[in-house]
């Protein structure tokens, strides 16, 4: 369709634009759809170990289940937005929902890792249409650009933050396939809403205004990309630390990382009353995210409680900055869907870059952590108040465990379970087992430190573009 008849997203006004009627349900449904699609970026994080086992795959191959989605979403978001601009956003959204639901169904029944990765890529392509289309539909439904954009951005933040948690809980309760099964009915709810809005998104752009697209907001999108790269560490590395490093169950890990989404959702009500302005919110958010990641790099112990305060900082930063930067990237820019596409592309390119930078760092550090961990274990065994014969037996068993799980944090329990000792030695053996587990947790925690610090550095880099933003108070 020509630009003259469909100029979606060209309304630069903050004035109510005669909201479409009976819209609360529509807004909720569209927000849910955006949250589900953007939650998909990290929803499989806690399911990766189970997927790895199911398909007998390599770690790098399984990581592509995560990477493929984010990479395709980053690449397709802008073209999808262009499609949306040229046509009816309701049609684009409905097409995206059908494609996303079909791809998600394939994910749920994928017989091989290759099929799963391909279906994840297709999911992202369909999802891109849902996201950019929903932006236009939300603005049209609420009738106020800022309100629509804020709901769209908030839904994205909620989805990104809650994705890993919900994915972890579903994997623990059922299986990784349940993650995809659960998404299908939710995203299909968007379909009737989109059909209802077909042909109703009217443009109110004054004909005297230039209709050529504005350039993307470089500073806001750059800051979004850097913060998304940093947030990858928060949501991806923290979960890995809890599950693989500290041997927590996926359920416990999922519940533990709820601090991030809870704080992210609380950030608005807590700070928005201050009317600090876009730049202040983006700067504060970057500082909070960098500080929280530094906190994760400097954990004083392997107790879950120590992760809570850093997570709250990250959540508050996420809620403040992503929302604020997204609004800044979209404000007064046309076509809105296209600029929405740019923010999505920036965020998910950031996720992919974050994974590309951080994964080799932490896997190398985990490998290098093996030597100090082995030395600490050797020291504790040598100095244990146990007879030499018991130490020799134990050393043999521990050696087998360490070489069997080279490159991963080993489970030493089988070594102790197979040890036969007199009752008089049981207390010393139990103390030694606790000591060795503590050493492994220390080594794993230390191994993640550099990655968290690099991620904190990425968040600090976001301060640069954030400080250069034009400060505007938010209503």
């Amino acid at each position: 369709m020509g630009r003259g008849s469909h100029l979606m997203g060209t309304d630069r006004s903050d004035q109510p634009a005669s909201p479409l009627t009976g819209r609360t349900t529509t807004v909720v449904v569209l927000s849910l759809g955006v949250a589900v699609v953007l939650g998909d970026a990290g929803v499989v994080t806690l399911a990766l170990p189970e997927i790895l086992r199911d398909f007998g795959a390599q770690v790098w191959g399984v990581a592509w289940v995560l990477i493929a989605f984010n990479l395709v979403l980053a690449l397709v978001a802008v073209p999808a937005a262009r499609l949306c601009v040229r046509g009816d956003p309701a049609v684009a959204t409905a097409s995206g929902v059908i494609a996303f639901a079909a791809a998600t169904t394939v994910c749920a029944v994928a017989p091989s890792l290759g099929v799963l990765i391909a279906a994840r890529a297709a999911q992202a392509a369909g999802g891109a249409l849902v996201i950019v289309g929903s932006l236009e539909l939300l603005v049209a439904t609420t009738g106020v650009e800022r309100a629509g954009v804020r709901r769209w951005a908030a839904a994205g933040v909620a989805g990104a933050a809650l994705g890993p948690v919900i994915g972890g809980l579903l994997t623990s309760a059922f299986s990784w396939r349940a993650i995809f099964v659960a998404q299908i009915p939710i995203v299909l709810l968007v379909l009737p809403a989109a059909i209802t809005l077909h042909g109703q998104v009217v443009q109110r752009r004054p004909p005297t205004l230039d209709t050529s697209p504005d350039r993307p907001h470089l500073l806001a999108n750059l800051a979004l990309a850097l913060l998304s790269a940093a947030l990858t560490a928060a949501l991806f590395l923290l979960v890995l630390l809890l599950v693989d490093g500290w041997s927590r169950s996926p359920v416990v890990a999922a519940l533990a990382v709820t601090a991030v989404p809870v704080a992210a959702l609380a950030a608005g009500p807590v700070f928005r009353g201050m009317r600090a302005g876009t730049r202040s919110e983006a700067v504060a958010g970057s500082v909070l995210i960098a500080g929280g990641l530094t906190g994760l790099a400097l954990l004083p112990g392997a107790d879950l409680v120590w992760t809570l305060a850093p997570q709250v900082l990250i959540g508050l930063g996420l809620g403040l900055s992503v929302d604020s930067l997204t609004a800044a990237a979209l404000r007064d820019r046309i076509p809105r869907a296209l600029h929405g596409g740019w923010t999505i592309a920036a965020r998910h390119a950031g996720v992919v870059v974050g994974l590309a930078i951080l994964t080799p760092i932490f896997t190398a550090d985990l490998r290098h952590a093996q030597t100090p961990a082995e030395e600490a274990i050797a020291r504790l065994v040598l100095d244990a108040p146990l007879p030499a014969s018991t130490k020799l037996d134990l050393a043999e068993q521990l050696g087998r465990r360490l070489s069997a799980e080279s490159g991963r944090v080993p489970d030493l329990r089988p070594a102790f379970e197979s040890l036969r000792v007199p009752v008089t030695q049981a207390h010393a053996v139990a103390a030694l087992e606790r000591g060795l587990e503590d050493q492994l947790k220390r080594a794993a925690t230390r191994a993640f430190r550099t990655s968290f610090l690099v991620a904190a550095g990425l968040a600090l880099l976001a301060l640069g573009p954030a400080l250069l933003l034009r400060d505007r108070s938010r209503s």
Partner: protein, 197 residues
């Protein structure tokens, strides 16, 4: 409200969290580091029993050997556990380290007398009953005069085949047998040395 207020609140929150974490040991939560094997060790009293004595000598000997090799005791143990075949330099360092350990215990008066160890050694020895009875009948003073502990242990270390010992670490019977034969050869050599100076 000043546009600086929100960033300042963020800085204060971050400083508070990081302050608490660092004060609680954040940044120092790392694995135990190997001790310097060249640091002089405080030697605890050794019970007059074979296994604790052997363990004390081995632990001190590992420290001294690692110090001679310029690596940590833990790294040496892990290397030996992995290869089970020490190179000539490691073998020499292990023997020298064990002798250093005997010397250290001797200089601090921590070595038990052979007469104190003899009953347990005889229990474990594969000797005919009559031989055990005869040895038990020898007065302690004669035993200790003929077999002073430190020289006996030094000779035992000299007699040890380090490679064989490392290969038999997982077989207690073979290990005991290798140690016993080294001790017997050392004792025999020492007695003969005393009788035919």
């Amino acid at each position: 409200m000043s546009r600086l207020a929100l960033p300042l609140i963020a800085v204060v929150l971050v400083a508070a969290v990081l302050g608490v974490q660092v004060a609680a040991g954040g940044g120092r939560y790392v694995p135990l580091r190997p001790a310097n094997p060249c640091t002089p060790l405080r030697v605890s009293p050794v019970p007059a029993q074979l296994e604790p004595l052997a363990e004390q000598i081995v632990l001190l000997g590992l420290d001294r050997a690692a110090c001679r090799l310029g690596i940590s005791r833990e790294r040496l143990v892990l290397a030996l556990a992995e290869t089970r075949t020490p190179d000539p330099r490691e073998s020499a360092a292990l023997k020298a380290g064990l002798i250093d350990a005997v010397d250290l215990l001797d200089s601090q008066g921590r070595l038990p007398k052979v007469s104190q160890l003899l009953p347990q050694a005889l229990d474990q020895a594969n000797l005919p009953g009559i031989a055990k009875t005869i040895i038990e009948a020898i007065p302690d003073s004669v035993v200790d005069n003929l077999l002073p502990t430190a020289p006996l242990l030094r000779r035992t270390v000299d007699e040890l085949d380090i490679n064989r010992l490392l290969h038999e670490l997982n077989d207690p019977h073979q290990l005991n047998s290798a140690l016993q034969s080294a001790i017997l050869r050392a004792a025999e050599s020492q007695i003969l040395g005393r009788l035919h100076p």
